[in-house]
Every structure is written in structure tokens, then in C-alpha cells.
């Protein structure tokens, strides 16, 4: 019997070893498949630094700024410099995360303003549009820890209307007076009866602030075309006109006598809407290889060089006039991942014009138009 046991035991072990080896091979293959899937996902993201956190896509600029707690509520810490001129990628990336969180209706625990040391009028308007979207779409109060804000940021954001947006009580403390003043932002929508009146109201507020009359008809010309573009092109797939929104604000730097007017929409963007013109449809093979900034530049040329080509192509030309008629003026158009700037100087005898383009890694999430002029 003992002999028999000795002969049968190795046979059983051989079967067991085979099963174990088979199981191990299966496990190994499963791990390899998982790794391959992970690699594929990483490759598709095209950004080695990107990691989804609570379903949000982060990049190298935002991975240290977004955290979530055990209840998957997220906190977004805004960067020290929110400015598209000086810190575009970081500013645009943070706004993109906030936009995605709102779009996906994530639970946002708080929006952390405490690190902000400087904020440009354009960045403040884009951020205001995102918070405004949160209020409209989600409705819950967005928490922001006011005492941690820098005094100057507190003052600027209060002027722009953030206290109302964030339902914060305005403190009575006297804030330091700086030369820059923001005007409260205005939200409009396509086909609304009050669109033109909002533009007029902003002009009146600007004239009160700068204590002089401005070239109102040129400003209205630009703003009315920007508003028209939102209705006609920007939100192509949006059927509800209430969601075809735009935001508008202005700021004035008293020391430099610099007036800045900003207009923003969260639509499809000029690089996407431009091919709908018949001319660009005809050259789409060439057109598709252009960068976003090249497409924005092309959009500003319609109506100037292709007069009579199509009656619906004169709009963007109206934007430049307000910048052109001042001694120093600049029109900046950011749309998706591109930027196009036209700068003008005119000392009464000599006038000059320069332009520049730039492309970025991150999208601004719509179209931002900024007029900057010296009064």
C-alpha cells in the first residue's frame, strides 16, 4: 500500500503543478492585458502627466491643484497668476478642470482663491463665467474661503461681482486703493432683447469710471458684432437660446490710463465655425492643416480681402475699429488653442500696425475678445 501511495502521489502532484502553472499563466496574461490597456489609455491621452481624478482630466499644470476627499468632493486650488498674457497654459488648464467638473456635475467642495496674487481682467471674466455656469447648472453654493484671499484680489473680485456669484457677504473693511478698477460683469444671451442695452450700460459705466467720453460707436460696433457672432455661429448644436450665453466686462488702470474691455463666450470657437463659410469650405484641404491661430487670423481678414464674397463675413472686421482709433490700441482674440493680436499706434502723424499669432497646448474653452486701449 505504501508502495502504491508513493507511485500515485507524484502523478497527483504533476496534475496540481500543471493547474498551478496554467493558473499562473492566466494571471500573468490578465496582468499583461491590463498593462496594455493602461498603456493604450495613456497613449490616447497624449499627455504623460495626465491622470483622471474623480473622472477629471488633469495635466501637468493642474495635477497638484486638484484634490478630492473621501466623499469624492473636489477642491480646486487656483494658481498664483491668472493671466492669459503671462501664464496662459496654467490659467486655461485650471479653467478647463473647473468647466469639466461643472459639466460632469461633480461635487465641488471648494474653489480655493487663497494662492491668487494677480488676476487679469480677461482671466477674471472667464473665471466669473465658469462660476456663473456652476450657479445656473448646479445651483448649490460654491464654497470659497474669503478670509484667505489677498486684499487686492478681494477688492477686484468684489468689483467684478464675485461676491454675488459666490453668495459672500461684502465685508465693510476698507481695502487698499489700487489704480486698477474692474467693472461688474454682465451676462447676456443670444437673441435677447436687452443685448444692445447691456453693451450701452457698460459704455455708460466706463465713461463714469474714466470721467470722459469714449468713442462709443466704435465700441458698440465691436460688441454688437461679437454678440451677433454668438447668436449666429458660436453655439451650433445648442437649440436652447438661453444657453447661448456671453459675458462682458471692463477694467481701467488709472495710472496707465489703460481701458480694457473683454467679451467671452463658451461656444464652438472661431477655428471650428470658420469652415462654415463657403470660401473656406472650398479650400478645406489646405485649411484643415492650419493651426487655430492661423484660422483666427484668416477670420479677421474676411470682408477686408474678400469683399463681396459673402454678405455674412464682415463681422470680425468691426472688432478692430475700437483698437484702431486710439493712440495705442490692441485687439486680442483667443479662440480654442489659438491667439491672434493686432496692435496699433498712432501719434497723429505716424500710424503703425503689427500683428502676432500664438498657439497653445490648452484651449480657452470658447472665444475671448479683448480690447485694450490707452485713453
Amino acid at each position: 500500500m505504501a508502495e502504491m501511495k508513493r507511485t500515485t502521489k507524484p502523478t497527483t502532484n504533476r496534475g496540481g503543478n500543471r493547474r498551478r502553472r496554467h493558473k499562473h499563466r492566466q494571471w500573468f496574461l490578465r496582468q499583461r492585458k491590463k498593462q496594455l490597456r493602461r498603456d493604450m489609455r495613456k497613449k490616447r491621452r497624449g499627455d504623460s502627466g495626465a491622470r483622471p481624478l474623480s473622472g477629471l482630466h488633469l495635466n501637468m499644470h493642474t495635477k497638484g491643484s486638484v484634490s478630492s476627499d473621501r466623499e469624492r468632493r473636489i477642491t480646486i486650488q487656483l494658481p498664483a497668476v491668472l493671466d492669459f498674457d503671462e501664464n496662459y497654459e496654467q490659467s486655461a488648464s485650471h479653467f478647463a478642470v473647473l468647466r469639466e467638473a461643472i459639466h460632469k456635475r461633480k461635487k465641488i467642495r471648494s474653489l480655493d482663491f487663497s494662492s491668487i496674487e494677480s488676476i487679469s481682467p480677461s482671466a477674471a471674466l472667464v473665471l466669473a463665467s465658469e462660476v456663473d455656469q456652476w450657479n445656473q447648472q448646479v445651483g448649490r453654493r460654491l464654497r470659497a474661503n474669503l478670509p484667505s484671499w489677498k486684499d487686492d484680489i478681494k477688492r477686484l473680485l468684489c468689483q467684478m461681482g464675485y461676491f454675488e456669484l459666490l453668495e459672500l457677504e461684502k465685508p465693510e473693511e476698507a481695502w487698499p486703493t489700487k489704480s486698477i478698477t474692474f467693472l461688474k460683469f454682465k451676462r447676456g444671451q443670444a437673441n435677447a432683447e436687452n443685448s444692445g442695452q447691456l453693451a450701452k450700460q457698460l459704455r455708460i459705466e466706463i465713461e463714469t469710471l474714466v470721467e470722459q467720453r469714449i468713442k462709443k460707436h466704435f465700441l458698440f460696433e465691436g460688441l454688437s458684432e461679437a454678440i451677433t457672432n454668438v447668436g449666429q455661429h458660436a453655439y451650433r448644436d445648442e437649440v436652447d437660446s438661453r444657453r447661448k450665453q456671453w459675458w462682458l466686462s471692463a477694467s481701467y488702470d488709472e495710472d496707465e490710463r489703460k481701458l480694457c474691455v473683454t467679451f467671452y463666450d463658451q461656444g464652438d470657437g472661431i477655428p471650428v465655425t470658420l469652415p462654415r463659410y463657403r470660401f473656406f469650405e472650398r479650400i478645406k484641404d489646405v485649411f484643415n492643416s492650419w493651426t487655430d491661430s492661423q484660422k483666427i487670423e484668416a477670420a479677421t481678414q474676411i470682408g477686408r480681402s474678400a469683399s463681396g464674397l459673402e454678405e455674412r463675413g464682415k463681422g470680425l472686421q468691426n472688432l478692430v475699429e475700437f483698437a484702431k482709433v486710439h493712440s495705442v490700441g490692441k485687439l486680442s482674440i483667443y479662440s480654442l488653442q489659438g491667439m491672434y493680436v493686432q496692435s496699433y499706434t498712432n501719434d497723429g502723424t505716424n500710424a503703425s500696425q503689427t500683428s502676432a499669432r500664438k498657439d497653445f497646448d490648452n484651449s480657452i474653452g470658447g472665444t475671448l475678445i479683448e480690447w485694450s486701449v490707452t485713453l
Binding site: 444692445g196 462709443k216 460707436h217 460696433e221 454688437s224 458684432e225 469683399s307 455674412r312
Partner: protein
């Protein structure tokens, strides 16, 4: 002899001081609406029409092109007929540019 019947339309007072957009889908005070509701009926019923452009906040090209260029594109009038029928009045020197733009859009427009 009966004198010519003349009509005067002040855009800022009779239509809107913030005219905006090309079509009614852009804005309730669009160029198409101004053309169809005020300008065309006035041109039809009168021997000449004077349009006053002062007083408005400003004009975008979409509004002006659709309001005035649209008269030719829609086949209501030719550019030559409009030169006889239509007068653009402008007392504010800053708005003279819009007067020349209106005639530019009328001359550039082609009947569809």
C-alpha cells in the same frame, strides 16, 4: 400740383438706439426687422425716404448690410433706384462713416 410725399425715419427714435444683428434670430432689433417693418413700407408708400442715423449707440456691419444691402439682395430695389429714393441724414461727424458704409453695402449687394 401735389408735392412729393416724403417720409423721415429716425433709427434711434423710431426703431432702437441699440440696433443689433442681421436676422431676428440675432436680436429683436435686427437689420432684417428694420428693413421689413419700417424701411420697405416707407419706400413703398412714399416718393422718398430720409433715414436719420444719428443718436444710436453705433452700428455693426451686420445690421447695416442687412437693412440696406438687403433691399437690393431681396430684389425690392436696384442700387440706382435707391439713389433716387433714399437719403441718409447724418449730423454727427463721427457717424459719417456709417453713411458711406450704407452706400457701399447697397452698391456691393447683388440680387439673389
Amino acid at each position: 400740383m401735389v408735392g412729393d410725399i416724403m417720409k423721415r425715419i429716425d433709427i434711434a427714435k423710431d426703431f432702437s438706439d441699440t440696433p443689433l444683428g442681421r436676422y431676428p434670430t440675432d436680436s429683436p432689433v435686427s437689420g432684417e426687422r428694420f428693413r421689413e417693418e419700417l424701411l420697405c413700407p416707407a419706400l413703398k408708400d412714399n416718393d422718398s425716404v430720409t433715414v436719420v442715423i444719428d443718436g444710436a449707440e453705433g452700428y455693426g456691419s451686420s445690421f447695416l448690410d442687412e437693412a440696406f444691402g438687403g433691399l437690393v439682395r431681396k430684389g425690392y430695389y436696384s442700387a440706382d433706384q435707391l439713389e433716387q429714393l433714399l437719403k441718409i441724414e447724418c449730423n454727427d461727424p463721427e457717424y459719417v462713416i456709417y453713411k458711406s458704409l450704407i452706400w457701399k453695402y447697397i452698391k456691393e449687394a447683388r440680387k439673389k
